[in-house]
Assembly symmetry: C2
Homo-oligomer: 431 residues x 2
């Protein structure tokens, strides 16, 4: 069957067409804010659902089901008119013709919003890219979960000590929120869950969890207090935190550090950096460090008519943020909100407003009942920080039933010291 | 890394070793019943979880998450001794040496329980096997869900009417409980969910659901009343039920019937029969129709010392069941129970009891708030049959949290006319 067509199947409209590429925090916020009385809106994403990235690590650790932290786009826009969802990938843009290429056909636009986000950055090391495990989508988080469980199942029938070590030891590269939260959750699993699942093995002695950070502090984007506290929490949980350590290679069996030292392991989780997900045809002159697209404070890529960038892929230098804003959900949501409202202002003949980032603080959780929170003028940590973390994330998840299922899972995990979702499921046609 | 070893890593024991192959209804019941003070028990399954097969169709229809209807074996046996779970597949048995081959190494046994169940039967048609969609595992159910959703996403951007028909029409082959329940759920989705998800398409007019049955009645294993009632329910829901119709071929685009008529469709769900999952080395002389292993009423394969078969793969002719028992959960559970108890009886020097099937009746649900129930002396249908169906299945699901999540999903689906799990998730490592 030929699915490659001249034109993607979207009705003609007299309204200007706004095409948003990417339904993450930025793109989805924009799609919900923009008035569909004044614009025909097309939302393109490679998945048919929005993903709640801050909880990927709990999917990987078998604490939550993927469906609890994703939400189908079509359900989100039930009963709403003039929005067209297309599940596909943009392969190229022709800026002069104002036209996108996708496997479903080409799609013209009046305004193009690039909200494709950022993907794992392997800094050009192809061997690491091939052999290590990233975690930038719910699919990758599930893959990671399956790999950890598969390796444990293999380890339990491996009599050789050294071989078993390779299967159970885990190296996490990158001491940002993702690396820290993963390390904490793994450490809790090592203490509370795995010894019950694998009574035949001496999990606590055999399993080592390494967290490797190139810089001299964890959570570099947060306060020094938070970084040091996170380090203490993790060390107390038995995680081997290696600061000032740079990973130079990984061949699938051995991690090599810059100083020549090595760790043998079959699993490296790579959370050491991100890079913008550009597609072909975007203006090279606007691409800056980290593959971000430079915009003015109205989110416009200057010099190209009708081209905008928001979220992780946008680089918008403000006086307070000369290196661009932190690539986090808050930035993306605020950018999507501002650009959506600006389109509505323009439709009414009003002038658009420049973006100004409202720093609401940042937080990270480390295992069971521990977290660190930086508010603009205040830092706290421990149990209440963890409660704050739970509440903020619970409110941010889309959908009442999702919120409810996540809450029940969290309560059940907290009471039972036990995640119940340790099942290796791979959708496939068998036999 | 070489995972193929001479011996699978299980401690030596002075107790006789009972190896159960397959953790479905029969194998799991047996593993839970047999006394591990008298036997060392090894449970081998290709998955690390037990699957609740009667609800696969709800996973396929995005009504339930797979994790709600599966349960990890290791969690089930937390804190229990002398049970060894190995996630692998048996490739061959050497009956003379009493030894199994698996990719994890070989495993000797004193008693071997074959509880491998049945898989989809394509009756030797390789083209149908290759092109149609089976649904005999939770992985296959998820794959089916993803395929249906993918095809709808493609259909929405396909302007050509004929091409779109192929993508949205669905043919189900086989009018047993699986086919009937799937057809009912799909019909409800066509009425209540898809028009809201795809307002751009005229779902009700465009989407045809065919249920094709070779015999002259649906639910052939149940009463005639139930079969006729199910047919009426499905027809009322808009399903095209074709009786006395035999599918002879499917090439991925067109279904061909014995009378030469055809239906164009990209999706055929094959639920037309099952065949026992034998492995190499089992005694050919004991293999009967449907690839089942013939046993005596003590579940022994006669003429082979220490070999037993229970569940869907067992053929145990009783006076009332000259063709063998129905291949359903009830039979499997009762066989596992009896054989487990017989082993305990033998350990205490008592005589084992012959198997006698206790027919508790059968039931099938057809869409929203409708079902048919056959009790041994009584038939009923409609809303109360549906409530009975819900209660029976809810109680049978393993795990309190699973029961709770299934119940909440069912209530939510019933109130909102809407399944919320329409997300296409494939665990994978992405580029």
């Amino acid at each position: 069957m030929n699915t490659r067509k001249t034109k993607i199947n979207i009705p003609k409209s007299e309204l200007p067409r706004v095409v948003i590429v990417g339904g993450g925090f930025a793109g989805l916020k924009m799609a919900r804010k923009i008035s569909r009385k004044h614009y025909q809106v097309v939302l393109i994403d490679r998945y048919n659902f929005h993903q709640f990235q801050p909880l990927f690590y709990q999917v990987a650790m078998a604490g939550l089901e993927p469906s609890s932290i994703v939400f189908p786009f079509r359900k989100l826009f039930h009963g709403e008119e003039n929005i067209y969802i297309r599940v596909t990938e943009v392969t190229e843009v022709d800026l002069a013709a104002k036209e996108l290429e996708t496997p479903l056909g080409c799609c013209d636009y009046d305004h193009l919003i690039v909200a494709t986000g950022a993907d794992t950055n392997f800094f050009g090391n192809e061997q690491i890219a091939k052999k290590s495990l990233p975690m930038k989508s719910v699919s990758e988080a599930l893959y990671l979960r399956n790999t950890i469980l598969d390796d444990y199942e293999n380890a339990v029938s491996t009599p050789d000590y050294e071989e078993r070590q390779e299967l159970v030891d885990i190296v996490i590269v990158g001491g940002g929120p993702t690396g820290v939260e993963l390390a904490g959750a793994l450490a809790e699993m090592r203490i509370h869950v795995l010894p019950k699942d694998y009574p035949e093995m001496n999990v606590k002695d055999e399993m080592d969890i390494y967290l490797i950070q190139a810089g001299d502090i964890l959570l570099a984007g947060m306060s020094e207090k938070s970084g040091r506290k996170a380090e203490k929490y993790l060390t107390d949980l038995g995680v081997k935190v290696l600061l000032n350590t740079r990973v130079t290679d990984y061949d699938g069996q051995v991690v090599t550090m810059a100083d020549g030292s090595t760790i043998p392991t079959s699993k490296v989780i790579w959370a050491a950096g991100v890079t913008g997900q550009l597609f072909k045809g975007l203006p090279q002159v606007a691409v800056v460090k980290g593959n971000r697209l430079k915009t003015n404070s109205f989110h416009q890529v200057e010099g190209v008519e009708g081209l905008y960038a928001i979220g992780d892929i946008a680089f918008l230098p403000e006086a307070k943020f000369p290196e661009g804003h932190p690539q986090v959900a808050q930035t993306a949501i605020q950018m999507g909100n501002n650009l959506g409202k600006n389109f509505n202002r323009m439709a009414k003949g009003q002038t658009p407003k420049p973006f100004s980032y409202n720093d609401k603080g940042s937080m990270a959780t480390i295992g069971r009942a521990k977290a660190v929170v930086d508010l603009p003028k205040f830092h706290f940590s421990g149990f209440f920080a963890w409660i704050a973390w739970l509440v903020v994330h619970l409110f941010a998840i889309l959908g009442a039933k999702n919120k409810f299922f996540v809450l029940v899972n969290w309560m059940s995990n907290y009471i039972n010291y036990n995640q119940s979702l340790r099942v290796i499921i791979k959708p496939k046609k068998e036999g």
